[in-house]
């Protein structure tokens, strides 16, 4: 029955959310064994852009060209942001830039999800923010409400545009996923095609997914090994260890800073105070101040 279906979905809606205001993640209530998460060490990141190139290749991202790029219509699911230290309003050039790789933070309480009129973006059981391209009507409300602005809209019809993948780039289009058509919203999926393959393989072999079974494209491409990715539920995974050692918890609103010598916590999540509970943790950059 459609009505009972509606009511059932309605009452289930977000009730299985792991982030209750208990201060600790309620793993018991979590709908699945897996909660994908990421940690990015900014100390290791050199801003080489390998990750974003890998993401282009893995996820069939259209190369929009100079002109559209300068119009702000680029499609990079992952971007490297640059920040300079400011000293008395002057940029301190010899300190160089700080880099921050930015992609969808896979928020647990994603601001983008609640506002989509057709439910095209919603939460998966393994803790990802998913985007159903076929369902999207292109109202762009999700993007308007995403505080990180990491959703990318297909402003043009790329599959039929010339030179988006100039030969031989067209040869390396990934057959595991689609090329999105015009008018739909897209964003980082934590390389969903990879995580699903890993899960299916594990299932076929009758075991649980273990750490290292799956790598995201950006992680794989990072020469500095700055990115780690895995299952937060698995206490043995690298990600879980990093999150734990930095005392970052999924349900926490604000990472407390412990500046004590030798015990410095570097972990934080961006814009935590808005309470989207992102699944990506960054490790702050530490360096000798030249100033």
């Amino acid at each position: 029955m459609s009505v009972s279906n509606l009511l059932e979905n309605w009452s289930k809606f977000r009730h299985t959310h792991p982030v209750e205001d208990k201060g600790v993640p309620d793993w018991e209530a979590y709908p699945s064994e897996i909660k994908w998460a990421m940690a990015i060490d900014l100390d290791a990141c050199t801003g080489c852009n390998a990750c974003s190139v890998a993401c282009y290749a893995e996820n069939n991202l259209p190369v929009v060209g100079k002109e559209k790029y300068s119009h702000g219509q680029a499609m990079h699911w992952m971007r490297i942001e640059r920040y300079w230290d400011e000293n008395d309003g002057q940029f301190v050039a010899d300190q160089g830039a700080r880099f921050l790789p930015m992609m969808c933070q896979q928020c647990e309480a994603a601001p983008c999800e609640t506002v989509c009129p057709v439910g095209a973006t919603n939460h998966t059981e393994d803790g990802l923010n998913s985007q159903i391209y076929n369902r999207c009507i292109g109202s762009r409300y999700c993007s308007a409400n995403c505080p990180y602005k990491v959703r990318y809209f297909n402003w043009y019809d790329y599959p039929s545009t010339k030179d988006v993948w100039p030969s031989p780039l067209n040869e390396q289009l990934n057959p595991d996923l689609t090329v999105r058509g015009k008018g739909v919203m897209e964003k980082c999926t934590f390389c969903k095609q990879r995580t699903y393959t890993a899960r299916n393989n594990a299932k076929t072999e009758g075991r649980e997914v273990k750490d290292g079974d799956v790598q995201t494209a950006c992680q794989e491409a990072c020469p500095a090994g700055a990115i780690s990715f895995g299952n937060l539920h698995d206490p043995e995974s690298r990600v879980a260890k990093q999150w734990q050692s930095q005392q970052v918890e999924l349900a926490k609103e604000k990472q407390e800073k412990d500046e004590k010598e030798g015990n410095r916590l570097r972990g934080y999540r961006i814009l935590e105070e808005l309470r989207p509970y992102p699944s990506v943790m960054y490790l702050e950059r530490v360096r000798e101040s030249a100033v």
Partner: protein, 455 residues
């Protein structure tokens, strides 16, 4: 102050005057129709191009995913409100000066809602899939997301539009019967016969009619308030700086009534001239409308101040930055123009001499509407230019010609619908004007009698 209407107009004269508007308007009418078609086709051309090529041609980008389309959408929704204000609220308050002018205000409501609905469509990336937002039973049991203010929007607009159409139609039935009885056979006569639903003017019919009209009016008032509150929720329910403001719903409702009243003044003046309605759309009525508009303008100004003040005194640094950006950044000229048109220009309506000066009021009403349109734009765009995230700061974007073209075209579409309506249906309510004349002459007689008695 002069009289709202002459007491000695014969009822047959009223019929004749109004029916004449269905047949022989001034030449200016055809000029307007032609211009509207031209403007509309510009919009259609732009939309076809955008549909084929993709939304990119609108020069929207990341983070500016919304632009003039959403701003103009709010503008048109807002414009629709005064129709309900004039016809339903003033009807309940027994303000009978509304009678000669409420019909066109209601038509304005209906058509501006239709224009607003157009913008919802135009702004979608995949407008051919718009029905996904409709809760229809389907094979996969996929429902729209009832949490999304955008969905509430779609439902609210649809409800408001359908009730407005019913209200407009119900209120017109006695007039349609007059048209039916007075016109020569032809398609029009057939149309009126159909729409008049066999109206004879019997007591029972009048009783039922009054009841229905009152019921729909009562239903419409909360609806009008809720519709614009919901449009405000699109912003207030999000968590973006500059939008996340509690006072948005009343602010939007006030803005809506404001722009609607300003539009009524504009159309009042145009109709009065084009259809030779000088006898009915009189200057004293204009004066009353102007005063009403001024009052609403002050409410809007007050709520505007509240919004700024609550942002200013909050601890929300980002929201504050957005406000500062509005006043000093790239949008500053538009923002100050909005303040000027919305809060300073209305004081021109305080000047007694100007209240009934047609050219001045025409210009003022256009300025007010410009101000209200700017207001919507200043709500939508600056937030994208100064969001939470540093890389969006001062990332400015200017709408492309395609976007301007579609916005421009919508005015043509509205004018076209409105003008066609005025030629096909009586835009002055004949039966209510008769009532008004009757009551006024009764009052006059009473006064005369009293004067005689005193003598």
């Amino acid at each position: 102050m002069g009289k709202d209407i002459r007491e000695d107009i014969a009822w047959a004269q009223i019929n004749r005057d109004v029916l004449k508007s269905l047949e022989s308007p001034r030449k200016l009418y055809w000029v307007i129709i032609f211009a509207a078609m031209l403007v509309f086709s510009v919009g259609v051309g732009c939309e076809i191009y955008q549909y084929n090529t993709g939304m990119g041609v609108a020069n929207l980008d990341n983070p500016h995913v919304w632009g003039l389309y959403i701003a103009t959408f709010i503008f048109w929704i807002g414009m629709s409100h005064s129709g309900t204000l004039l016809s339903a609220i003033l009807h309940l308050m027994h303000a009978d000066w509304r009678k000669p002018i409420y019909r066109f205000a209601e038509a304005m409501t209906t058509f501006s809602l239709m224009t607003a609905g157009l913008f919802v469509m135009v702004h979608l990336g995949r407008l051919w899939q718009f029905y996904y937002a409709v809760p229809y039973p389907n094979e996969r049991w996929t429902w729209p997301n009832f949490q999304s203010p955008l969905l509430w929007d779609a439902m609210a607009i649809f409800t408001y539009l359908s009730s407005s159409v019913i209200f407009l139609y119900v209120g017109m039935i006695p007039d349609l019967a007059i048209c039916r009885d007075h016109l020569h056979p032809g398609w029009r006569k057939k149309l009126y016969t159909l729409l008049a639903l066999g109206w004879e003017g019997t007591d029972r019919q009048w009783r039922n009619f009054r009841m229905t009209y009152l019921t729909v009016a009562c239903f419409l008032i909360p609806l009008a308030v809720s519709v614009h509150s919901i449009v405000a929720s699109d912003f207030a329910m999000s968590q973006q700086p500059g939008w996340h403001v509690t006072s948005f719903p009343p602010y939007f409702v006030a803005g809506a009534l404001y722009s609607g009243c300003a539009a009524i003044i504009t159309l009042f003046i145009i109709l009065r001239y084009v259809f030779r309605f000088e006898e009915y759309m009189t200057l004293p009525i204009l004066k009353k409308t102007v005063r009403l508009t001024f009052a609403i303008a002050m409410v809007w100004t007050y709520l505007n101040c509240i919004e700024f003040a609550s942002v200013w005194y909050s601890h929300d640094q980002v929201a504050k930055d957005v406000l500062i950006q509005k006043a000093t950044g790239t949008y500053a000229p538009f923002w100050w123009a909005m303040i000027f048109c919305g809060s300073v220009v209305p004081f021109a309506m305080m000047v007694k001499k100007w209240q009934t000066n047609i050219p001045v009021m025409f210009a003022v009403s256009l300025l007010l509407n410009l101000g209200m349109w700017l207001e919507r734009w200043m709500i939508v765009s600056p937030t994208f230019s100064h969001g939470y995230y540093p890389w969006t700061w001062d990332h400015n974007q200017w709408p492309s010609m395609i976007q301007w073209g579609i916005v421009f075209g919508s005015f043509g579409w509205f004018t076209l619908l409105f003008m066609v309506f005025c030629k096909v249906f009586p835009s002055v309510s004949m039966y209510e004007v008769k009532e008004m004349v009757y009551h006024r002459s009764l009052e006059l007689k009473k006064k005369e009698l009293a004067a005689k008695g005193a003598n």
